[in-house]
Symmetry: C2
Subunit: 331 residues, 2 copies
């Protein structure tokens, strides 16, 4: 393994690079962000967190599917829009409550196919679509979905709380298939029954309610190391990852797996003494989990295998999203 080359490839992976455009734009809101006292977390986590005064906080996120996938596979566009949104809530230890969508499509058939995909996602995950806005005659297909969830105020899993000394656990549903639309998607849900899927995506709620995670994040387009990098960036820490400890499905190579959006995949930081319990909880629902490294205060995210070591992100000088979290503590 040429670990230096792997580090370069992971750093320059499209799923990581595309996050950079966010910062400029989010930072335009800088001077209006502090006004809003109900906002505990905004940009930069999987979902925003709003405290409206009840026992539970509201989680709120949006994601969108467009471009090639939306033009070529409308069913998958609809279905996967549910998957990614549900993950934004579940990754924070929340319970998804409802979704709304904004759909744009070339023709009625494309529109109906996206809706069929959404409906299959709704049935699978048990989260209703409660409203939306449809534009049935645009020259392109696109689908934006927003989701709300709720979580107990003191049981949130945020991405900006990792501390030096935490152990890093990655967790994946290994029973999946590389998606037909991209070598970097991994379908773990469309072919499984609803109960199995729901048990697996709700596992983060169990971990949250037992307060086992210090920080955590849904592994998404930037892949495993890119997502860990984002978690380190918002937590202002570094991390060191032993590549030999990462569980990999039999049929895949390490580099592809590290770039994949694993659909049901999480990275969490936890106290070393809680690792065994976290892993047991993941494994109980059929998710494979392993301790793969630890958080440190270096500002570097590095990977190693035996004696070889390389830095993927130097957060002292690089940015991934470049977002300054305006988060308050909720403890």
């Amino acid at each position: 393994m040429d670990i230096e080359q792997l580090a370069v490839n992971l750093r320059n992976f499209e799923g990581v690079i595309r996050k950079k455009s966010i910062a400029d734009i989010v930072n335009m809101f800088e001077d209006v962000r502090s006004e809003y006292g109900e906002t505990i977390v905004d940009f930069g986590d999987d979902a925003a967190v709003l405290d409206t005064g009840g026992d539970e906080v509201i989680l709120f996120a949006a994601d969108a599917i467009w471009g090639k996938i939306a033009m070529e596979s409308q069913w998958w566009t609809g279905y996967t829009s549910v998957v990614v949104n549900v993950n934004d809530i579940s990754a924070m230890g929340g319970r998804p409550v409802a979704m709304v969508n904004v759909m744009s499509s070339c023709d009625t058939e494309a529109c109906k196919e996206m809706m069929r995909g959404i409906k299959d996602g709704v049935k699978k995950f048990g989260v209703p679509m409660v409203g939306g806005h449809i534009h049935p005659d645009t020259p392109y297909n696109s689908l934006g979905v927003a989701i709300i969830g709720v979580a107990k105020k003191d049981c949130l899993i945020r991405s900006d709380m990792a501390k030096p000394g935490d152990s890093i656990i990655v967790a994946y549903d290994m029973d999946g298939r590389v998606g037909k639309n991209s070598p970097y998607s991994w379908d773990t849900t469309s072919f499984k029954d609803a109960q199995t899927v729901r048990d697996r995506f709700l596992v983060m709620q169990t971990i949250a309610e037992k307060k086992l995670a210090i920080a955590g994040k849904d592994i998404s387009n930037p892949g495993t190391i890119g997502t860990l990098g984002m978690l380190c960036e918002t937590s202002k820490v570094g991390a060191s990852v032993d590549l030999d400890m990462i569980p990999i499905p039999d049929e895949l190579e390490l580099e592809q797996w590290l770039k994949i959006y694993p659909a049901t995949g999480y990275v969490i930081s936890t106290k070393p003494e809680n690792c065994d319990e976290c892993i047991r909880i993941f494994e109980e629902v059929g998710i494979t989990a392993a301790v793969v490294g630890s958080i440190n205060d270096s500002g570097l995210v590095d990977i190693y295998s035996g004696e070889q070591k390389a830095v993927v992100f130097d957060l002292n000088s690089d940015t991934i999203t470049g977002i300054e979290l305006s988060a308050e503590d909720v403890e």
Copy 2:
């Protein structure tokens, strides 16, 4: 006035006709809608209503801006996306809490202009943008925004509760300007200070908390009579409107005014004995309001002026949205 022709023009107005495409698609969800016990209202009202067990319900809506406006005026696209979303919550008597957006743009400049518009809207209405998803390199501009709000459980203003015998009140901010992008938009906010705007759009909360409205709705793209028609459709009632009682800004003709999206405009049904108090509350914040007719059980929405009368919608045979509300009572 040729009232028959006016009725035809209002019935065939693009803002009304475009609502018809919703029904087919929403009705695809029919067999999965009853599963979700937290959903009190879904498609068909200004916002969905979710009861997650606290004292307050969560309101959740999405709206989008695209096409000609998004290509020609990106600032307005951003700004107006805030206006329409805030209205969806305020029309139901709710307090807007936060928004997320999904933005698609041709280039960085278009993206920044939309963001500037959003930011000005955020400042004006005091509702934060807390997350989003940006696609900075599509061949088109579009902007979808979702919003959440909260309302006391027993103080919601829904659109499906109107009863025969209710009086109909329309309320408008008359201090506005026809928008430069469409003869059917009416800008009542961009040139006013934030406090005035906030007082006006929050008036529906006062009406909701005093339980003065039986039903109500934000007047949107279908215009005054089209919006009343949608309210009658979901309430399964009819209505009769005296055109001579409708307040009209000096510089406008009746037909154009009835087709306009008045930005700050509401139609409510109320008990006849509560009309005076409703009008007083609207007028206190500078909104002009008047009793313009009454709800009946005919299934017809008609307009009259002196001796002339014409039917705009026959809901016994026509549909506007065609959505069957799966709403439960919240009383």
